[in-house]
């Protein structure tokens, strides 16, 4: 029994160490190593040059880059959630910024969404102009080319 407890304790402490190793703290006003601190204005990576957000292959500071495989947080550890967040939804209780790492927060599923946007007519003139110009260029260009090749 004592041996069993000792094994459990040792195993538990070993796991706790692992869990602590995943926790990363960033400078005040930073939720990742990207960009500048919102409170101090210093770079969040502690160097003279900030890391531009997002990293290559990343859409936010969360998870890993799909191209490089490196953490999107800009540090050595990937973030599952930003500081002050326990999901991708809503706002951080720490920084007050969106928990999804973008400029706009995601509402919590189950809450009522706003009405959808289901019309696009404002782009009609641009579409007509683009199609007319490109169509004319294609038609007259092809006609000119075939005329030239007939002459030759």
């Amino acid at each position: 029994m004592v041996l069993f407890l000792a094994v459990v304790l040792v195993f538990g402490f070993a796991n706790m160490k692992n869990a602590n190793a995943q926790t990363v703290s960033y400078p005040d006003g930073c939720s990742s190593a990207l960009g500048y601190s919102v409170t101090t204005g210093h770079t969040c990576n502690g160097k003279s040059t900030p890391i531009d957000a997002p990293m290559p292959g990343c859409k936010t500071a969360l998870g890993y880059s799909v191209t490089t495989g490196e953490p999107c947080s800009g540090s050595s550890v990937a973030l599952q959630y930003l500081a002050g967040c326990n999901s991708l939804y809503g706002y951080s209780t720490f920084t007050g910024r969106p928990c999804n790492g973008t400029a706009i927060a995601v509402p919590i599923p189950g809450t009522t969404p706003g009405l959808p946007r289901t019309g696009v007519e404002g782009n009609a003139l641009v579409s007509i102009l683009l199609m007319t110009i490109s169509g004319l260029v294609a038609i007259f260009g092809s006609a000119y080319l075939s005329k030239q090749s007939l002459k030759a």
Binding site: V106, P116, T118, G122, S134, Y144
Partner: protein, 192 residues
Amino acid sequence: MKKFLLKSAIILAVCVFGFVLFRTFYYIPSDEIPLPEKNVPVSANGERPISLSIPKIGVDAKIQEVGITQKGNMATPNNFMDVGWYKFGTMPGDMGSAVMAGHVNNELNLPAVFGKLGELEEGDDIYVTMGKDTKLHFKVTKSKTYDFNASGKEVFDENNGKLLKLITCTGSWIEKLKTHNQRLVVSAVLIK
């Protein structure tokens, strides 16, 4: 050299024409954000909505499952022919409001899948095909317009029956916001 430039210009023009044509009549990018699927409801027999049919206005459309946009609105289908079912809401045929949205027009202002939604009247038939064998029959009960930025609560949260809500844009175009100023919501109730 001149010939090469002309050929390049023609190829570019054809590409531009094709791209604009595709965007104008078919594809509309969606700003839906990826969310975990764990909140998507599942029907008792595992069926999901596949197609929507409204004989009176000639609608026979595929149903896409849509979520939420970055701005917190219901997302819309990524083309002008399909309709989008709000997958984090009510399953069609269940108690509550199953909500579907479709575009009113395409980029040339020609009618899209819900271009004639405003013609529906009380008693008109709507069918939702679920899986292979189930076809749900709804009848229109009312139509109502809302401001584009109105709360969605009345539309999404009404639960005094097995309801279907169809949404599209209506009213006038607000150039600054790139959207119409109103939304038309047609409500229907399950018959069988």
